[in-house]
């Protein structure tokens, strides 16, 4: 029996979808709220105090001492992980559970640091590693 083209399209589409997403895992881990350049644009070195920053951004994750003043650090993380197990395709026909996995993890780890003088006025501000946000992409090669 020959399937009409209109009936074949949804079947083909659903098969392609199932094959594409088979055994997929999409995981995201976030630590604190990631900060952007816009979030810290209000900080003017030499004018803004640590109290002003705390009012806007909350408490830093750590405060440490240095020879020239105090270092306040805000840490955040946005990790994205995706994984596809193509072995799932063979599971209905295989006596064992075969695995053919490709996966990739992207860490958008970063920290925002403030250097304050002895009067708690911000003298310098900078992101530790300003990495672009990771993407969900299971292709590791």
């Amino acid at each position: 029996m020959k399937l009409p083209l209109s009936g074949l399209c949804p079947l083909l589409l659903s098969t392609v979808m199932c094959v594409t997403f088979v055994g997929c895992n999409v995981v995201r881990i976030t630590l604190n709220t990631p900060l952007t350049q816009d979030d810290v644009a209000f900080i003017v070195p030499g004018q803004t105090t640590l109290a002003d920053v705390i009012t806007m951004l909350g408490t830093p994750d750590s405060i440490t001492d240095s020879h020239t003043g105090v270092v306040a650090t805000y840490r955040f993380l946005d990790m994205k992980y995706s994984r596809v197990n193509f072995g799932w395709l063979l599971r209905p026909w295989s006596p064992v559970d075969p695995d053919l996995i490709i996966s990739r993890t992207g860490f958008g780890a970063d920290a925002f640091e403030l250097l304050c003088d002895s009067d708690w006025v911000v003298t310098h501000r900078s992101f530790l590693r300003h990495v672009s946000g990771p993407r969900f992409n299971p292709y590791p090669f």
């Binding site: 999409v26 995981v27 994750d61 003043g69």
Partner: protein, 127 residues
């Protein structure tokens, strides 16, 4: 009526199957009333210790002693469908810094409670 209820229950059972919720915490809750009881230029180091206990970290900053208290809260939600799984883990912290002057009197109190807005989420895309 019974048919509708059964249908609703069945729908709920279908929607909730394959869901997982997990939670993890590190450290004790920083009590808001204890933080509110600390008064600048009045409360002593001993009173801070009796209110909050020993600090998680003791720092020397700018010639002052700083007591740091923290607590982490993690909430994870997973939607485990047969062919595709979505998971999201969100971690936030509550932090409290009590800055003491050389005489052992509280000079400043810095605190924030980020965990109040922490929700269970399973959708990994977007913000």
């Amino acid at each position: 009526m019974i048919f509708r209820r059964s249908l609703l229950l069945m729908l709920l059972a279908i929607l909730l199957q394959g869901c997982a919720f997990s939670r993890g915490t590190l450290g004790d809750d920083i009590r808001s009333e204890a933080v509110a009881a600390i008064k600048k230029a009045t409360t002593t180091k001993a009173e801070v210790l009796s209110l909050l206990g020993a600090p998680d970290r003791l720092l020397q900053v700018n010639g002052r002693d700083v007591f740091q208290y923290y607590r982490y809260d993690a909430k994870a939600g997973s939607l485990l469908l047969i062919i595709i799984n979505f998971s999201r883990l969100s971690i936030k912290s509550d932090d409290l810094f009590v800055i003491l002057n050389r005489e052992g009197i509280v000079e400043d109190v810095i605190s924030s409670k980020r965990t109040d807005g922490l929700e269970f989420r399973f959708w990994p895309f977007g913000e």
